[in-house]
Symmetry: C2
Subunit: 352 residues, 2 copies
DNA sequence: CTGAAAGCGCTTACAG
DNA sequence: CTGAAAGCGCTTACAG
């Protein structure tokens, strides 16, 4: 096994272009391109010469140039509000899975929950991607119309844009919320008793759907909504408030797991025992939910799957295999019952 | 406030180019370009006309074309083994922070811990980025030399490439491990007693450094290494093994938090109480560490900061403000003492 | 201050 | 099967 000496590049130097390859192989640039791209209409001998020259010159194709002439980038743009946290991790995992299977690259960008940044991110995608997966509150139809190039297809993920009929894949937040609340209700025979909800930010569509689910599933119990903002701190504050209440609610449904956790921390600090004194449930099933003690009852939507499907759909649109606009798709979620809402530890354990 | 009617694009149509803008503004393409790019040498009237035409045509510049002629993308490529989990979240957060401040875009790609994929990811960066942040085991000098275009600067993050003097930013895993083990030793006066280590994968450099730290800090105690692979499952298996041992180690240092957590789960199942029966510590300070009960003693390296600094350095290299090759930089870490290694709950609480 | 032209690095009809 | 040429959409010396 020969070990070719690795050239240590100690200073910046221009890299080889396809012209260099063609020249050292003694063929035309067109032929070099054909050989490099594995076209069949190339004489084996020539292909050989080109490939040798390429590896000798350490040729790496220039993607921007390629994109420009092929009018194709084999890349999907993904715009997310943020990359931090389990939720977005799952989105990326799903998208990545599907992209790899199709041999597509991913260009990921964040909008930081800011409309101006979202606009900038979307603009920057032009010429870099064949299509866009957009997940971002704070975008509206005008922003899209002004910043999205007319020729780039887009699919929305867990995002609703009023007015415009874009293809969208969303979690069924309403149904998920109904399922948790019905579970809390059945377990605690709460009819007539007080049940609390710690809501997410008021301007967030997901918050709104979960809150609606809560209100519609109360089923005879008296509902009470504490305002939160999806942060652990706001859950903690709500927990302190709950601990002081009299009568104390029989159960509390937090609009996400982080708030449920903050709430449980506050309750424990006030000497209350979950679920004996008050049952708690969240939404999302972040990894901590399973590891908490008591472990947290929650709702899990398969975000990775949702994202995977969104990318598949986008790829089909790009390939002309699917219509430019599709109907919205909703993905279901399922309840995961754990210790925080059940007295029987054994039953909860199987659900972990 | 006038509400311009949003044009609903119901079928794919080509988007406007700078030629279209120039034509409708009645100026040359060169002038359109100058106006669009905010050059000062442009008559105000012309600038006005061009800008109006651009917004009217919903013009969005084609990035690939721009990149090709400017020979600059304003984009940094980031190659990670994976995007899943807290660690990479932190990397991305740090990189993103620095990139935004400099007005740079990020092109993120994953190598899935596979050399071939890493090579493909690195190749695909050519022409798309001005420089590369590479974090990936499984790469060696040859792979880099063969797949990294000669003109793209690169900085390594938490990655070591034997032989080649690339600029690198790494966590000081050795020092961190020494700190935890010394803490465990002091707390439990373990001289002469058994202390266990659950190691990471043997071929991982970080594992190796943490293991060395463990062995060097034993300080009179007897060391015992259980092989793990960074997964919760392997920590769980190690925990079961520890529970059976006689004499039982006084403390265990897991090479990462996930294994420490798996271990604690197993110990609890076997009826052992942490830290009374055995002290436990991990490495990384993932979010769950703080939320576990007992909360987990661990080591925290500021990964976001490390990554931020790496990007800053790369940006400087690109701008010619820093040498093409820099010396390696090490970032420190600090011990976070929590309940899993201390009997005094009060003391632990302040550290949370 | 403005325009015509060359060029960035590639691909792809079009002839041969 | 191969090559010369045009073109992808932009920017930037170069003249004027």
């Amino acid at each position: 096994m020969s070990t070719p000496s690795v050239q240590t590049v100690s200073a910046r130097m221009p890299s080889a272009t396809i012209r260099d390859v063609a020249r050292t192989a003694g063929v035309s640039v067109a032929s070099a391109s054909r050989a490099l791209n594995g076209m069949t209409t190339v004489a084996p001998a020539m292909r050989e010469r080109v490939l040798t020259a390429a590896s000798q010159l350490r040729y790496v194709p220039h993607t921007a140039a390629r994109a420009l002439s092929r009018r194709r980038t084999d890349t999907i743009g993904v715009v997310l509000p943020d990359l931090h946290g389990e939720f977005f991790s799952e989105v990326i995992r799903g998208v990545d899975m599907a992209a790899r299977r199709r041999g597509l690259h991913l260009l990921i960008s964040t909008s930081h929950g800011d409309a101006a940044e979202a606009a900038a991110a979307i603009r920057a995608m032009r010429g870099r991607v064949d299509g866009l997966l957009l997940m971002s509150p704070h975008v509206d139809g005008h922003l899209l119309a002004d910043n999205l190039a007319a020729d780039v297809p887009m699919v929305l993920v867990n995002t609703q844009v009023e007015g415009h009929p874009h293809t969208a894949f969303c979690v069924d937040n309403y149904a998920g919320a109904v399922a948790v609340v019905e579970h809390l209700a059945s377990g605690a025979k709460i009819s007539g008793r007080l049940v609390a909800h710690i809501s997410g930010p008021a301007d967030n569509l997901e918050s709104q759907d979960r809150r609606r689910g809560f209100l519609d599933a109360l089923n005879g119990a008296e509902g009470l909504v504490l305002e939160g903002d999806f942060s652990e701190e706001s859950g903690y504050a709500a927990g302190l408030a709950l601990a002081e209440m009299n009568p104390r609610p029989a159960a509390v449904f937090a609009a996400n797991d982080m708030m449920a956790i903050g709430c449980m921390l506050a309750l424990a600090e006030k000497g209350l025992v979950v679920p004996r004194d008050i049952a708690v449930a969240g939404f999302d099933d972040i990894p901590v939910a399973r590891l908490m003690r008591p472990s947290l009852t929650t709702v899990r939507a398969n975000i990775a799957d949702l994202s995977r499907r969104a990318l598949e759909c986008l790829a089909q649109i790009i390939n002309g295999e699917a219509p430019w606009r599709n109907a919205a798709q909703t993905v279901g979620s399922h309840l995961i019952v754990r210790e925080s809402s059940t007295v029987q530890t054994a039953a909860a354990k199987t659900a972990i």
